[in-house]
Amino acid sequence: MQKQITQQNLNALLDTLIKEGKRVVAPRINAGTPLYEPLKSSAEMITDQLPKRSGKEAFFPLCEDIMSYEKEGQQITLTDIDPARFPETVLVGVRPCDAAAVPVLDAVFSWDYKDEFFLERRKKTTVIGLACTTADDACFCTAVGLSPSDSKGSDLFLTPLEGGGYNCETFSEKGETLINKYKELFAEPDNATTIPLARPQTETFDLKKVKAWLDSHFEDPAWDSVATRCVGCGACAFVCPACHCFDIVDEGTEKSGKRRKNWDACGFWKFTHHASGHNPRDQQPKRYRNRIMHKFKYYDDKFGQTLCTGCGRCIRLCPVGIDIAAIVEEISKKQE
């Protein structure tokens, strides 16, 4: 379904949704930092900056309770989390690199055992993507097969028009339901021109070649040369839309507390450290190798998808200037 919506009507739509009690998550400024966060009003939404962290938080929070415990004498009582408490959500203004990561995450949280914390939120969320009109030199979505207008992961996709407003295209029943419910806010598409979209400068990677090289180079001097300088801060994983490794920790006392699922990062030395002292990834290059392998080989082996959407956040943030796009490009050139 193709429609058009003015900026004013988009704002009206978001304000109506907020009034109805839905959680509307969009890029907004929090203490100077753009982040995907729940809006109090549509006026808070910004569309000109890529949030510092990705949109995955709408489904997979940085930190969340997965149960609580209480101890009375020798007896323990566990309290489950009721998934009914996850609110109906509209995630809006999501960049294609963030939206595209959502179906990638679906794979890991739904294969075999179902993670209801992710899946229930996913079920209750409508994703409204927004095409990018600007890109910086860290953006590389086009290198991993996506684009500034890619609708992957979006239920409804907005493309900005010259003179204001957006073209709207639906890609799922959820998108159609939303338009049908608020149809007075949408208009039939006319021939309005869309604003020229961003054109990231990185060359397209041959992901098959990248994987082929990774298949046969677990041991290679290249890992030392690219990652000896990695300080293991884990920032790359924390800003990544597709990274999903997590920790399970108890927070509380012996008497009562909560068990939580927190984001974790394969760059941390403790991530694979055994209590015995043994660590299978005992040096930073081995940990960085896992990051690249997981994104461009292991996830592909298991789920047939690449665990990177080219958002470029890890490149912008890395304190020692490690550039994943440059590394992957180099790998693709090594493979005949």
């Binding site: 149960m67 323990i76 997590f246 399970i248 108890d250 974790d264 991530f271 209590a275």
Partner: protein
């Protein structure tokens, strides 16, 4: 595929500590009985599978289920108190509550071992992952040929399941070869003195129609596999169980992988052939 829809996959079952057994000064066995009657009746597992054990307030720790699936009504775990969670688990007393999630992972294909001789090779704290299978096989004794157990530890004090070692020693249908590292033997020691791989080589079990089940620290595995090869075992006749740090146990949290193999889902039981194909990341 498992159907766990609309369930919190991270929510443990509660169990009561029924018995506490000190195996060594820092290794302890907990015998656990599920508190919920329905769970007690329905909980079933296969030898080789593992679980996540909760000490609430400290967190979860991963160990194999050390008791045999043939022994109903309870499970046992055995661990060394070396970290935050295991120190807390060691503080538990009979009557205390513990959380258990599982069973997870694959298991030993015991049916494929029917009619064959079995050689168990274990070192130190790595006997529990094989002990589940040892008792499983002993409880179905007529389904197997000769059973040999080679077990060693650094010192006499470090041997776990000492009472069971005596029991196996007395049985005429089990050959137990126990050993301690040189210098680890006291004046009363009546076993071998030497490292497990050496003692295994001397014991020289026949590879014919035999399966070897090996578990131990990486260095023991490293020197045991060539000995088995020398004795004529092919890589498909040798099984081991790997251990990597885990959190979820469900193939999601992303830390137990060895290359693209997830120990929690694809393992923990692997053949030597599978292990040799893996990168050195365990």
């Amino acid at each position: 595929m498992c159907d766990h829809s609309n369930q919190n996959i991270y929510l443990p079952h509660l169990a009561t500590v029924a018995e506490v057994i000190d195996e060594t000064p820092d290794v302890r066995t907990l015998k656990l009985v599920f508190q919920d009657q329905q769970v007690r009746d329905s909980f079933s597992f296969r030898a080789g599978q593992f679980a996540e054990y909760s000490a609430f307030g400290a967190g979860e720790s991963t160990f194999c289920i050390a008791s045999s699936p043939t022994r109903k009504g309870y499970i046992e775990c055995c661990f060394r108190a070396v970290g935050r969670v295991t120190e807390e688990l060691r503080r538990l007393e009979p009557g205390d509550s513990i959380g258990v999630r599982g069973p997870y992972g694959n298991s030993f294909p015991i049916e494929e071992f029917y009619g064959k001789n079995l050689v168990f090779v274990a070192g130190g704290i790595a006997l529990p992952p094989l002990r589940t299978l040892i008792w499983n096989c002993l409880d179905l004794r007529d389904k197997f040929g000769d059973i040999t157990i080679v077990y060693g530890a650094r010192t006499e004090a470090d041997l776990v399941y000492k009472r069971e070692l005596q029991e196996w020693e007395k049985r005429s249908d089990v050959r137990l070869v126990k050993t301690v590292d040189p210098g680890g033997n006291g004046p009363e020691w009546d076993g071998q003195v030497g490292f497990v791989p050496t003692v295994l080589e001397q014991a020289a079990p026949s590879a014919e129609n035999t399966v070897a089940l090996v578990c131990g620290p990486p260095v023991m595995i490293k020197f045991t596999l060539p000995v088995l090869e020398k004795l004529g075992f092919s890589d498909d006749q040798v099984y081991t169980t790997l251990e990597n740090r885990m959190k979820c146990g469900l193939g999601k949290c992303g830390r137990c992988n060895v290359g693209n193999v997830y120990v929690c889902k694809d393992g923990p039981v692997f053949t030597a052939r599978q292990v040799k194909a893996m990168p050195l990341e365990y």
